[in-house]
């Protein structure tokens, strides 16, 4: 399997050969930032189109197909449209907070995006507490959403933000507990460590029953965390116009839209990191030929494929279930998912201490 670190070390040696270390580091940081920006925007565009195609498919429609092959250039038209719209300044809003909110939402999603395991040797931010860092940063997005709703000086945005806040903090607990279950099994919190630990079998297989329960809990909680249907009551369009971003216009609104789709990718990426082996190819013990063939597929393709697969499931939810009410939403988390998650965590801890899991 191709190791991307060959490229990075070669490039690093090339730079340090002709210039001092600090300059080389700065240049590398700028390049990483540019790549990050490009990957973030392109993936957001792809995801917006992906959701439209999947939705069209579920509804037996044809979806966008006029602009470019299968409508693939539609998104560029949409971005340009959004860019050339006027950014309206509200008179009565809390101006500073109103402008600050999109920064918080986007920063949270960009930083978590940079933590994902992109492939072998393509890990960008790699703390030894990686997965914990991800949860910590992603909760910053809630602050952005609350600020957006509060500062817009509109009743709909306030209610939308409050609902969104209550929903996101509630479901964050289940996400945290599902992560804990896997950290318990792997014994490491670093992202590379988690991926390496799944060399001989993804956690969903080696952790068997508790890992599968944790995966189900994680996917449900992640759907709620990204404010997607059936948990899209923060932006229930027939009740609240558009929820917390009603008062934003043009590209200002576009940021929330962008972050929403990227968050869908991020939660799917974390799901594939925790349960489906990150960029690790599928290996079946004993099937040497099969494993070798799987190793030929590049690691980035594995990671993206898994993330897109999990996203497909999350998009599927939207068309299979009707929107929940707020009391049902809170009851589902506090009375079902969280107690089940806690019990599941204890079961996993017992299994690990007794060694009743498949050796990873």
């Amino acid at each position: 399997m191709f190791d991307f670190s060959v490229v990075t070390t070669w490039f690093n040696d090339l730079l340090t050969g002709v210039m001092p270390q600090w300059l080389a580091t700065t240049i590398e940081c700028v390049i990483i930032a540019a790549v990050l920006l490009l990957a973030y925007s392109l993936l957001a565009m792809f995801y917006i189109m992906y959701e439209r195609w999947v939705c069209a498919w579920f509804q037996c429609r044809r979806g966008p197909l006029r602009v470019g092959p299968w409508g693939s250039l539609q998104i560029f038209a949409d971005v340009i449209k959004m860019l050339i719209k006027e950014v309206v300044d509200l008179w009565k809003s809390d101006n500073f907070l109103h402008k600050l909110a999109p920064y918080l939402v986007l920063i949270a999603s960009v930083v978590v995006f940079a933590c994902l395991p992109w492939g072998k040797g393509m890990q960008m931010i790699d703390f030894n507490v990686g997965i914990f860092f991800m949860t910590a940063v992603s909760s910053l997005g809630v602050v952005g959403i609350l600020l957006a709703g509060w500062s817009s000086n509109s009743k709909y945005t306030l209610i939308g933000a409050m609902r969104s806040g209550a929903q996101m903090i509630s479901y964050e607990l289940s996400i945290g507990i599902a992560m804990l279950t896997i950290v318990c099994l792997s014994g490491t919190m670093s992202v590379t460590g988690l991926v390496e630990a799944q060399q001989n079998g993804w956690f969903i297989f080696t952790g068997h029953i508790p890992a599968i329960i944790a995966f189900i809990i994680y996917v449900i909680a992640a759907t709620a965390e990204t404010n997607r249907g059936p948990f899209d009551l923060p932006e229930a369009e027939h009740e609240l116009t558009a929820g917390y971003h009603t008062e934003y216009s043009g590209i200002h609104f576009g940021f929330f839209y962008l972050a929403e789709y990227l968050n869908l990718f991020i939660v799917s990426g974390i799901a594939s990191l925790l349960f489906l082996g990150g960029w690790m190819p599928l290996h079946i013990p004993g099937w040497e030929g099969f494993n070798t063939v799987m190793d030929y597929i590049p690691s980035t393709i594995w990671f993206l494929g898994k993330a897109i697969f999990v996203s497909f499931i999350i998009i599927w939810f939207k068309w299979s279930f009707p929107r929940v009410r707020i009391d049902q939403m809170l009851a589902l988390e506090w009375r079902y998912l969280m107690p089940i998650g806690l019990v599941n965590l204890v079961v996993m801890a017992v299994l690990v201490s007794l060694g009743w899991h498949f050796a990873g």
């Binding site: 990050l36 008179w91 040797g121 964050e172 490491t188 009603t246 940021f255 506090w334 965590l345």
Partner: protein, 122 residues
């Protein structure tokens, strides 16, 4: 990247700056190429199309606070459990008992809140 010898903290700061640049640059482009106009009612709150009545930064349902407080309790619990989970493999069954006691006390708190009807949306 670890392989480049750059600290993860530096890269995290880079990622934060990338986010800032993304928002700032896009807003700048929008300001430059977008139209600007001024009309009498332009900056009014849109809400749902008709003029807003009353104060908008108003009081809201107290139930949200209740869930925020409950969240705080369980989120701090997660913070405590993460270090344990990371080394739980090497620790024996005794620690399992200790963590079980800790979780039991927390679950008692949840049960109390449940009994009091705090988990029911009114």
């Amino acid at each position: 990247m670890v392989l480049l010898g750059i600290q993860s903290t530096t890269l995290a700061v880079t990622a934060v700056l990338t986010g800032v640049v993304l928002v700032f640059a896009a807003l700048l482009i929008a300001r430059l190429i977008g139209p600007r106009s001024y009309t009498k009612r332009k900056g009014e709150t849109y809400e749902c199309g008709i003029p807003t009545r009353g104060e908008s930064m108003a009081q809201f349902h107290v139930g949200y606070y209740l869930f925020a407080i409950l969240f705080l309790m369980f989120d701090v619990e997660t913070v405590f459990l993460f270090p344990w989970a990371a080394i739980s493999k090497s620790l024996g069954t005794t620690t399992l008992l200790a963590v079980g006691t800790f979780l039991f006390i927390l679950v008692l708190g949840l049960a109390y809140a449940w009994k009091k009807g705090a988990l029911r949306w009114k």
